[in-house]
Symmetry: C2
Subunit: 494 residues, 2 copies
């Protein structure tokens, strides 16, 4: 414990998870560490559920991004969440959000920490933060994610630390904590290269705010495997071909520009594919460091992986632990306000690869809502990157539900990214390059390149009839959303 809690007097603050849960009162607003389920508190939320279940008790939960089922899932199932910000991906919570039981807002992840400081979500009563150690000064060494923890720790009245002994102390030194002042005192962020460190490896806090330290050995949930499939491999190969062509045309350097990629199969496939590409000394400036990033380090293709969380599969975790010295040199974890900051993303000129639920023929993208109404996860950081990237790429399989849903539709049922922020749309069918095109040219490009043969004629027919109505962006208002309605009524868009 000497290594883990280096400030002697703080060792007296060790309490049980139940004692910590007793600190939590109904009505509190609580900021929890955690980002894309990594480095979130687990012991205290589970104890809270034990304590409060069945009572007239609810709290507002703020996190960095999605967290595991011990927090979002258990609390939602027990009906203990009133408000929730800014992103989630838990099935219980999703269902409480869609039933209206939880008041949820999904927020651009770079905006969220400053919104907290601006007071949009009221006062923060408590921060619960997972750490690997507490320094001599009483400062926090975060675990496998940073997220919004620095802001919660600064703004909260009280702090509970979950000291997780299963999170390796070797992570110390990986973090780079730089905190922004707010307008009118904000300065330029000095980061101009993805591999630059501009802050401190610790989150500086006022140790007097620590109410308790809970020792835990519960590991982060593994929420996904490093899978790839035929569809994602095809999408990845379209993207890599495109990037190679851009490089040959002199539009991209041999080392590319800093890569951002969402989480999941396509991202894994693209990153894996880069191992066999001609690119070298690639830089990764993104949110989540997943398995394929380790693979890219292993094959010697990337120089640096900057993110706000490390989120690995079971085998990825093993690989990471066994070669930690190799990886540690090449990984930097930053607050999400820096990893996702528009200033940085635009300056670096990111190549951003994000996932769409659906896109429309004019290039608008829906990242969040199923059939217009039902929240899936949230916008997350996709808008931070898409708006500010050098290249904004969205990927999706051309169909869903075995062909019953076309992912390219006349009009998206919810807009998260407008035509203004979408350069490229890729499905397994092909890559539509929208740069410089007018809306009607975009429609032709998307329908020709990216739509499934199952829906191509149908979309062309819609587009031609819409054009007869005229206008810069021809829309048949009484038909634009009829594909979704047909799916709801009949079970297929066909």
């Amino acid at each position: 414990m000497k290594n883990r809690i280096r400030n002697k007097s703080l060792r007296d603050k060790i309490i049980s998870a139940d004692e910590a849960a007793a600190i939590i009162k109904s009505g509190m607003t609580i900021g929890c560490s955690g980002f894309t389920p990594s480095g979130y508190p687990k012991a205290v939320p589970l104890a809270l559920v034990e304590k409060a279940q069945g009572e007239d008790f609810n709290i507002n939960i703020l996190t960095g991004a999605s967290v595991g089922s011990e927090l979002d899932g258990a609390l939602a199932e027990a009906g203990l969440i009133n408000r929730r910000y800014p992103y989630q991906s838990d099935k219980n919570l999703r269902s409480s959000i869609n039933s209206g039981d939880v008041k949820y807002s999904d927020i651009h992840l770079s905006h969220f920490p400053q919104n907290i400081r601006y007071g949009h979500y009221g006062d923060i009563d408590l921060a619960i933060v997972e750490a690997i150690a507490i320094t001599e000064e009483g400062w926090i060494v975060p675990s496998s994610s940073v997220g919004a923890a620095p802001t919660f720790l600064k703004e909260a009245e009280k702090i509970i630390v979950e000291l997780n002994l299963k999170q390796t102390l070797d992570l110390e030194g990986v973090h780079d904590i730089y905190q922004l002042a707010d307008p009118p005192e904000r300065e330029a962020i000095s980061l101009v290269q993805a591999d630059q460190r501009i802050g401190s490896p610790y989150i500086k806090i006022d140790p007097k705010k620590i109410e308790g330290i809970v020792i835990t050995e519960i590991e982060d949930e593994i929420s996904f495997a490093a899978y790839q499939d035929d569809i994602s491999n095809k999408i990845a190969s379209h993207i890599i071909d495109f990037l190679e062509a851009e490089q040959q045309a002199g539009k991209l350097p041999k080392e590319l520009l800093p890569l951002q990629s969402g989480v999941g199969a396509v991202a894994n496939a693209v990153l894996s594919g880069l191992c066999n590409s001609n690119f070298e000394n690639i830089k990764f400036y993104s949110e989540v460091i997943q398995d394929a990033v380790l693979e890219l380090i292993d094959c010697g293709k990337i120089d640096i992986a900057s993110g706000t969380s490390i989120t690995l599969s079971e085998s990825g975790k093993k690989q990471f632990k066994e070669n930690i010295d190799l990886y540690k040199d090449k990984i930097i974890l930053r607050p999400q306000e820096i990893s996702n900051n528009p200033e940085i993303i635009r300056r670096l000129g990111s190549i951003a690869i994000n996932t769409a639920i659906e896109a429309d023929i004019y290039g608008n993208v829906n990242s969040t809502h199923i059939m217009g109404s039902r929240m899936m996860n949230g916008i997350g950081g996709s808008g931070d990157f898409a708006r500010n990237a050098y290249l904004s790429i969205f990927v999706t399989s051309s169909v869903a539900k075995g062909g019953k849903i076309s992912s390219i539709v006349p009009m998206v049922s919810h807009v998260d990214h407008t035509e203004h922020d979408v350069d490229i749309i890729v499905t397994e069918q092909g890559l539509a390059d929208l740069r410089g095109l007018s809306p009607q040219e975009r429609a032709v490009e998307i329908i020709t390149k990216a739509v499934s043969p199952l829906y191509k004629d149908k979309l062309l027919d819609y587009f031609e009839r819409a054009k007869n109505r005229g206008g810069h962006t021809p829309v048949k208002l009484n038909e634009a959303l009829s594909w979704h309605q047909r799916y709801i009524d009949t079970g297929t868009m066909k």
Copy 2:
């Protein structure tokens, strides 16, 4: 002329507008100065129309933002425009865009210069730029706007200068030209205060590229008056009351945060209203410096007005000329890539006030398309500011066409700004504060505060029925756009 063309050898380059027009070949891509009709070339386009009218001739026109009828209007009417970027507000051009004769894309104004350099619009054959003088070194002193002129001058193969003798030489020194390098060489922009100068008063160019200098005395078109009406005064008073309440709550300093405002009646009314407010030492960091900004300087309320163009009414122009020494000290004109830069806007923490065509009950905003299809002007800089502001405010009259159109609808017919980027919606009915609210709470706030009594019950009824369908953001897909369709079919949304 010695004062106007200080480089002796360049005086030999003086040519007539007809001679300049002869340089322009069909198929060329031409970058023109001009921003929200101010400081755009006039003589050469008018000569071009004379020359090319009726011929099989077309060109691609790029500008900073909207330009006057001598350029957009005359060329569109003569059918000479193939492609047009990134913003316009001319009635002839609008009609050619909506008929599909002109291929138009509206682009975030801060993105546009870098997109040019990235090659999205192909090579720039020619730059035509209005200037008040050419320096000894052969550098350009722009006139009443900067816009994208620095990028056009840098990227174009050849340059034609329209030296406008009616634009006062007193403007010299007002400009601050700072040009960004592109990734991976881009540095942090050092501007941290609205009144800071970070560049040069001249646009440095290679004088060898100048093909001709056309002397002209055609004045910028006056496209709008500094009018205010009852509706805009009511909207303005809601905004000022809100800002005062925020200041009293300790959320805003006495000097506010840097203001951005769109052009027109509401903007004029808000700015005028600030003369009678308690705020002091206000800073204005925006795109267009219009009449009310002069008024704010006159009443001693603002310290600095930073923009990319000065666009005044007839009386504003007179006032400006007569008191130029007073105004000159307080005005800075920057390239649109700086005036609208996300890095700066977010750092300064702007209060952004922009105009919506319509908004929906969840807070999505349409700034561009009438009934989903017909382009009005374009997104302009609204997205640059709305996404990155400290406070993103959208204003609109609650009804249009004498009550036949509700500006708040179940679903906007086109999305330019998503719910994620809209903090406040204001109509003459009231102010809806959406910060921190879930979609369903936003709907209640908007319907209660901002909707016309003519449509309030109807919208509430829609919302209640949509809620029965369930989901986080309840939408009735077969009804969401029916208000627009009804307007098209019957002439009213009622």
